[in-house]
Each structure stands twice: as C-alpha cells, then as structure tokens.
Point group: C2
Chain length 181, copies 2
DNA sequence: TTTAACTTTCAATAATTACTGAACGTTTAG
DNA sequence: CTAAACGTTCAGTAATTATTGAAAGTTAAA
C-alpha cells in the first residue's frame, strides 16, 4: 500500500481540505483514498497508506458511515471488511451537501420558527424579530432550492446551464412562455 | 448592554452554529449580535455583551472584515469605532457563500486542473485521473451554478421557485419552447 | 508636546479536538 | 473448546485552535 506521488498528492490535499468540507484531516484523507482507488480497501490498508492507527481508521469509517459516504463489501472466503465509496462522485457530493444542510441550516430554521411566533415586547425585540424573519425566509429559500437542484441529474444541470449559460435567461423563457399561453 | 432573553438566545445559537458556518463560536456570536441590533455597536459593547476580552473582539472584527461581513461607522465627535453588518441579510449570506466557495472549492479545482494535465503511467493512475476528472467537472458545475444563483435577487429566486415550485418544470418549459421554435 | 482614549498585537495559557494503543468483543476455522 | 483474525471502544495524551491580558501602537484634543 504505497501510493504513487500523484495519488499521494491528491490524498494529502483531501486531508487539508477535510476540515473545510465538514470533517477532519484524517477523514478527508480517507475519503480521498477510497475515491481514488478503483478497488475497495481494508481497514489495515487504509491505516498503512495514511500512517495512522488501526483504531483511528475504525472511528473514521464510523463517521463516514454516518455521512453515508462509504459502504462495506465482503469477498467470499475472506473475513475482512472492504470499504468503498457509496456511489458516484456525484452521489457523494449530494450526500455531503444534504448532511451539511442538516447541520448548518435546519437547526437555525427550527430556532427561528419558534422565535418568530413569540410576541415582541420592546422596539429592540421588534427589530430583532424582523431580522429573524428575514433570515428565516432566506434559509427557507436556500433549503428549497438545494432540494430542487439535488433532484436533477448532472446531465440535466449541464443542459440547463448551456441554455445561454444564464439562469436569468430561464426566467426570460418562463415569462415568454407564460405570455404565449 | 444586557440582552433580552430572546435576543440572547439567538446570539448563543449563532455561537453554536458559528463553527459550522466557517468561523468559531465567538465570531458566530458577534455576527448574531450585530445583525440582531438595529444600531451599530462599539468594540467595548460587544466585549461586554458577549463577556469576552477586548483583544478577542479586535481579532474577531478583523476576521469578519476579511469575510467582508462588517463595516465600520463613525459618529461625529466620537472617536470610537462603531460596527454594523455590511449589508442586508441577503448580502451577508452571499458573502459567506462566496468566501466559502473560495476556501472549499477553488483550491481543489486548481489542484485537479494540474493533475489532469499529467500523463497517467499505470492503470491505477489512469483510474485516478478519471475520478479526478469527474470531481473537476462536478466542482466546475457547482461553481458556475452558484455564480448564476448569486446573481439573482431574492425576488427573482422566489418567483422562479413558484413556477410550479420545481426546477424540473423549467427544464420541461425549455424543451417545449425549443420544440415550438 | 503631552496625555487620554481608543485599537492592535502577540506570547502565554486555556479549551477543544484528534489520535494512539491496549483492552475487550466477535466470529469462524480447526 | 481454543486460538487466530478481525473489529470496536475509550482513557490517556498529543496536536490544534481560541482566548486572555499586558504591552505597544495610533490618533486627536488640550
């Protein structure tokens, strides 16, 4: 399990980006390693390739499973577990996106819904509630949009994109069509 | 500078979410505090309200300025600096979005562009490059889309949203229109 | 100038987060 | 049943990140 320089480079980069993508360095490296290898890897292979302890691999896999990013495979007559990415690159990105929405947006949306129902007693609270309402509306829009976009295949997205490569044009389209009918 | 329970609750929540939004707890609280207050605040007021040191406020403001999330205001005859959110809620969200794209996507895109130009020497490298190509294409699509969506006003977005509340319908629309012409 | 009112910086330290490795659990082949 | 081969857990420790507060920097009024 020694990586070619090019592949190692990619894996190390994934590690550096890991924390920005929502996990930590080691887990970032694990994702990179699994994605870049055509064949599933055992926990020991991962530990060896990344030079980390066996226990750390176990915890990392657990975390990745909570994100639904890896799946376990078995080879007949072999007791070891083999780990592989749970879907295409596109699938993985969707899963990360979805999970982050749950962690970064949903809790705030819940809080704001409660707060907005309360009555404001002072002018400060009045203003505060208006702001919270704005944030709430923004987050709802973002949530709905991300759900919409996730529903599309990469091909649909790219097709939509090439339509003059501007969403504003889609709006124009819509207006035109609505006028005709 | 003592906060009403309702407002304090919101500020504390922003703190808890802070690290998920790309900063740390204290900076999250600062954003919450500035957004929820109608009037700009001085560094000392922020320190007092959040019960943190004056130096910490200074560093937090610096960080928020690098994200372009706060602006400084002055009151004539007063040497203190007053801090306020740099734009509407929508503007702030856009700035965060943009900054995160720079940190979370751009560096990887740069790396992948380089890697893809290299020639693959082994079958493993061949596969690795195909995967890197997929990731690259995905990130480019995401980048372009986020740029498109950011260009729209909240009103445009919501109008587009209400169009049967499904982007797939827009694609259908497009197809219909193209057939007609 | 000097001094007072402010802001910034940064070394020391506190708080948080990640990692190791040994102990324990589980499964299966012999 | 026993031992070997694997996976998991978690207390202790290492690494990283955030915070304080004292010192230094800046500005402007007197």
């Amino acid at each position: 399990m020694n990586l070619s320089p090019k592949i190692e480079n990619f894996v190390l980069h994934c590690g550096e980006m890991g924390s920005r993508w929502g996990f930590n360095r080691t887990i970032g490296q694990m994702v990179g390693l699994l994605v870049i290898n055509e064949h599933p890897l055992t926990a020991n292979q991962i530990a060896e390739a990344l030079k980390i302890s066996r226990g750390n691999v176990s915890m990392g896999i657990k975390e990745l499973q909570s994100w639904q990013l890896v799946k376990v495979q078995h080879i007949p007559g072999d007791r070891k577990e083999y780990y592989a990415p749970n879907g295409t690159i596109w699938d993985l990105a969707n899963k990360v996106f979805e999970e982050r929405r749950k962690r970064e947006i949903d809790p705030t949306l819940t809080l704001l819904r409660d707060q907005i129902l309360d009555t404001a007693n002072t002018p400060e609270e009045k203003y505060a509630q208006e702001q919270m309402q704005s944030i709430h509306d923004l987050l709802e829009t973002v949530t709905k949009w991300s759900a919409e976009l996730q529903r599309l295949t990469p091909e649909q997205l790219q097709s939509l994109m090439k339509l003059g490569s501007s969403v504003s044009k889609v709006i124009d389209l819509k207006d035109k069509l609505l006028k005709k009918s």
